[in-house]
């Protein structure tokens, strides 16, 4: 599973990235977590509100910082 956290360096984006790492660790998942900070990449992925999370190329969350619990639910949902 590829998890991409998109954001351009604002505080919220960093928090979302850390929360995602924590969620992955708590689930003992082997998903890879990647931080996408390049504006061009974010635009090309078609995302308009940051911070956002994409799992395996699908947008699952956008526009706010999600708590670890919610991210865990998103990951579990994607695994099914």
């Amino acid at each position: 599973m590829i998890i991409q956290v998109l954001g351009m360096g604002c505080e919220g984006c960093n928090t979302l990235y850390e929360n995602t790492l924590a969620a992955v660790a708590e689930l003992a998942s082997d998903a890879s977590v990647e931080k996408v900070e390049d504006l061009v990449d974010i635009v090309r992925l078609g995302v308009m509100s940051a911070p956002a999370i994409m799992i395996d190329g699908k947008l699952v969350h956008a526009g706010s910082v999600a708590p670890v619990k919610k991210i865990k639910k998103l990951i579990e949902k994607a695994q099914r």
């Binding site: 351009m8 504006l39 509100s49 947008l59």
Partner: protein, 332 residues
């Protein structure tokens, strides 16, 4: 009836009295400088946090009905000045993180929306939002708040139209024009997800904005009780015809949340600063902040950036003087 609503519900003056009484029961004389500052600090902080929480929750809930993809579709249906107006209105319900404004702008532009429309959106987004509207009402009164929002929207619409007339489409960075117009959309949320989203926004925004509020209220309290009135009047009040310019100049390099600015504005006003000066300061801080200019530069070439900056500044200064003139009407 309205005055009661304004003073007690929005202004929460009962809280002020309550805090005053609690402090006095501890033996503090709130008439003194220290006592007065403390009373103001406690009252204002609590008031702002409560109003903030309620507002952000409500606004975020409304926001969940307007994801960027939907805004893009709505805007696509309008033309001309009407489109600018709708864009300005939609800008008021945009998310709070400045990280979003640039990708949003790019998303709209690559979808083919006219430059002027996207700029109306971009101008109104930081300057005017429903949250600050209600907060303004609680401090300055309903009339000021409504005029502030209206004038903010006017700047957004006119600013966008001017940019449209100048035909600066070439000034958008190339990668945007060649970016695919494919949008990535989230699934439509159900009621429960909307409420969860609203709660998320509330918690994360409060966390982010809290230091600014404490700072703002602190400064406000300081001004309230420690800065002499005639100094304020001389610098920012009727004693200084260039007050608006000073306010805008000071506001530009600063970036602070609008919620943090309001207590400062409130304190300055009560010390004799002119209304226009104070509001111009708030507008300058939120719209013309250096960090957002830097981010915008990634999407837009210097020429367009300069035009955007110039229009906003001019608009804000004009609005500032406007408010100064009609102050007696609004607050009298």
């Amino acid at each position: 009836m309205w005055t009661f609503f304004q003073n007690e519900v929005l202004g929460m003056k009962w809280l002020d009295r309550l805090v005053g009484r609690i402090l006095e029961s501890f033996g503090l004389d709130t008439a003194t400088r220290l006592g007065g500052s403390l009373r103001f600090f406690c009252y204002d902080v609590i008031k702002i946090f409560v109003l903030l929480s309620v507002l952000i929750f409500l606004i975020s809930y409304i926001q969940s009905y307007f994801p960027p993809e939907r805004s893009k579709r709505i805007l696509g249906r309008f033309h001309g000045l009407g489109a600018n107006c709708i864009a300005a209105l939609l800008g008021t319900v945009t998310p709070f993180c400045s990280c979003s404004s640039i990708p949003l702008f790019i998303g709209f532009t690559s979808a083919g929306l006219p430059l002027g429309v996207t700029f109306s959106f971009l101008i109104s987004s930081p300057m005017v939002d429903l949250g600050s509207l209600i907060l303004l009402m609680s401090i300055f009164g309903g009339r000021v708040a409504i005029v502030y929002v209206l004038l903010g929207l006017v700047i957004a619409v006119i600013g966008g139209s001017v940019i449209e007339r100048l035909h600066l489409e070439e000034s958008v960075e190339d990668f945007i024009r060649s970016a695919p117009a494919i949008e990535t959309a989230l699934d439509v949320p159900d009621q429960r997800e909307r409420l969860e989203y609203a709660l998320e926004q509330l918690l994360s925004t409060v966390r982010k904005v809290a230091p600014y509020i404490f700072l703002g209220v602190g400064i406000g309290a300081f001004i309230h009780n420690w800065i002499p009135e005639d100094l304020i009047v001389r610098l920012l009040g009727s004693g200084n015809p260039l007050g608006v310019f000073v306010a805008v100049l000071v506001g530009i390099p600063m970036y602070a949340d609008i919620f943090g600015c309001i207590p400062i504005a409130e304190a300055l006003l009560s010390k004799g600063a002119l209304l226009g000066v104070v509001l111009a300061f708030m507008m300058a801080v939120t719209t013309l902040s250096l960090p957002s200019m830097v981010m915008l530069r990634k999407a837009v070439k210097p020429k367009l950036l300069g035009v955007f900056f110039g229009i906003c500044t001019a608009g804000i200064i004009l609005v500032g003087y406007c408010f100064n003139l009609i102050q007696p009407l609004l607050l009298g």
